[in-house]
Symmetry: C2
Subunit: 365 residues, 2 copies
């Protein structure tokens, strides 16, 4: 296979630790499956603030654009909590999403059979849960203008944001959700607050139009965000694909992830539009979990989510379905064999650290 | 005691059914505890649309303002889903909140011991959970201007809302949360997305200032909304009071309610400011559950949340602590005795309908 360009951005907290183990999986792919990647590393988040004076440098953004895919760790930590809004570590990932046009964040929340017991929900409620949350990631209240904190004429401080969507922004992410549903269980639950928000009203209308015109074979259900949070908690097995805007998608995908009980196992992909000329699309892969400053540097973080993010990269950016499955199966076998990092520890299993877990996955490959 | 003026608004769906049982509790209070209420009934939501042409009439709003307290059922149903945004049933409750200045919505999420098994979460995760969500209800994205769906100059439809808070709107609801925490377990978790929203940044700053100046004895924790959703699902017992804006408060309070597994049991209160001259405050009491059109008219709805909303009314609007406890204890005893409506049914208990449940509570009184 031709050289594939990867930009690796470990970021902060446990990011570098879990990325180190993932690099071993990448190396294995080069050695044993002749997938030769041209790999660059870069800085993002707090690490980039320290070394380069900004949460992501223009040079790093340029390298991300030039790469075939970005493998991302996590950003942020208490060290940078005091920084002004315009300098916070989160801008690293926000700017990548925006500048690369990564509008569709795919967040699978899957309960693996050996881990059903790890959930805070009853095993019979979560067993077999397999949800894909599709979250819009370049629009909405995250980027809408005007926004700011200012003094009103009467002297009071006023903080404001604009929640805004154009119809084509809604339609393109809806298509991603419907396409995915067709390959899964054929159902999309679209989430908004159309009963109180105007942007939600447009969201519901456009999703309905795309459904009717292009995907009448897929089952579409509209659900208010508050109700969706309830239903995720009480009957998660009813969901197949959940479609939400930037803000509701953020909260509900984290909830869906939490109910699996194995956050340290969950990867995600964020995809841009397919270029009609080259057929390529920008894409970024990152674990759902954050930088977890409390356990950073202790060698106890679970590297699986980062490794599985690389598996998603193989599948979505390069169509290496077989190799993606190899990684996923290796992780499943290691779990079935009884190894557990602290976050998914269960009675009767063997507790291991980041590097033993990483080694075990590579050995299984 | 002097005459207390109540406005009763049963609304749509199961609202009228559960209100009927609650009226029996109110009657009992008049007969046996000499709490004489002057009661008016009014229409709201779909019922008001049908009879009066609007989700709430000006006359009803005026009566709500003149009343000492409003006892509210629930609004909405598929019948009115097709109506234009400006005519939807939800405007009934939204207008009451706004016109009466009901800015603080108190939503307890309590797991009663006999119902711990009803939760989708493991009993040891939810047992003893006792959370109070304080939600801001007259500001934020629910009311911010400008908002609308319009055609942009380039012809695309654009839906937009404004998320906006003034510092005093944040401070007054924060005080409600801190005051409650002092009477509980002394901890407030304030929720926002200060990492991506400007209004969230102001929210965190103002809550911090109020805390420092007026409530340094209360423990304050700031948490991002996505993380809060996760934590509610995985470790709900860590929370005491959760403070959120209109939108996050809506989603997270519903999630907190769902995890108790007994939505049909949960009341809420929405309070206005105390008038410095009269010492009075406007207040509205309503169950957390909605109008549940799917079971409306079948006589199977759980009347407890509505009855417990009346108990909150006794406590918060009139200081009748003893009578409030009487109602709460009667409900608990009926549950301990084994009666269950369909929503909280458990093996080995007796399944009953709305009116048998209502009767049992009155008998227990
Ligand atoms: C880091 C932060 C900006 C981010 C978000 O809110 O989008 C995070 O919560 C996520 O979901 O990736
Ligand atoms: C009926 C609707 C407007 C309402 C809201 O979103 O506030 C409901 O969900 C609630 O929580 O009371």
């Amino acid at each position: 296979a031709a050289n594939k360009k990867l930009l690796v951005l470990p970021g902060d907290g446990i990011g570098p630790e879990v990325m180190r183990e993932t690099r071993r999986v990448i190396d294995w792919m080069a050695r044993r499956r002749s997938l030769s990647f041209e790999i660059e590393e870069g800085l993002v988040g707090g690490a980039a603030i320290e070394a380069e004076g900004a949460p992501i440098s223009d040079a790093t953004v340029a390298r991300a654009k030039a790469a075939d895919a970005v493998l991302f760790g996590s950003v942020g930590g208490p060290k940078w909590d005091g920084l002004p809004f315009e300098q916070r570590p989160e801008l690293g990932i926000l700017r990548l999403r925006k500048d690369l046009g990564l509008f569709a964040n795919l967040r699978p929340a899957v309960v693996l059979d050996p881990l059903a017991e790890a959930s805070s929900l009853k095993p019979d409620v979560v067993r077999g849960v397999d949800i894909m949350v599709v979250r819009e990631t370049v629009g909405g209240v995250y980027f809408g203008e005007p926004r700011g904190v200012e003094k009103a004429p009467d002297g009071r401080r006023r903080g404001f944001d604009t929640q805004v969507y154009f119809e084509d922004e809604i339609a393109r992410v809806a298509r991603v959700a419907f396409d995915l549903a067709r390959k899964r269980r054929n159902k999309v639950t679209s989430v908004e607050k159309a009963n109180v928000m105007q942007s939600g009203r447009l969201w519901r209308a456009v999703v309905g139009e795309v459904h009717k015109a292009e995907y009448p074979d897929v089952q579409l259900e509209n659900m208010y965000a508050d109700n969706c949070a309830m239903q995720l908690c009480s009957r998660p097995a009813q969901f197949d694909v959940i479609l939400g805007d930037n803000l509701f998608g953020d909260v509900l995908s984290d909830l869906a992830a939490a109910l699996t009980g194995s956050l340290g196992m969950l990867p995600s992909a964020t995809l841009g539009a397919v270029d009609p000329v080259t057929g390529k699309r920008h894409a970024l892969y990152e674990p759902i979990h954050g930088s977890a400053p409390d356990i950073a540097g202790k060698g106890v973080a679970n590297p699986c989510a980062q490794m599985l993010s690389f598996a998603m990269l193989l599948r979505w950016s390069f169509g290496f379905e077989e190799e993606a499955r190899l990684v996923e199966q290796a992780v499943e076998k290691v779990l079935a064999g009884g190894l557990r990092t602290a976050d998914i520890m269960q009675a009767g299993r063997a507790r291991v650290g980041t590097s033993v877990m990483g080694e075990a996955v590579v050995r299984e490959l």
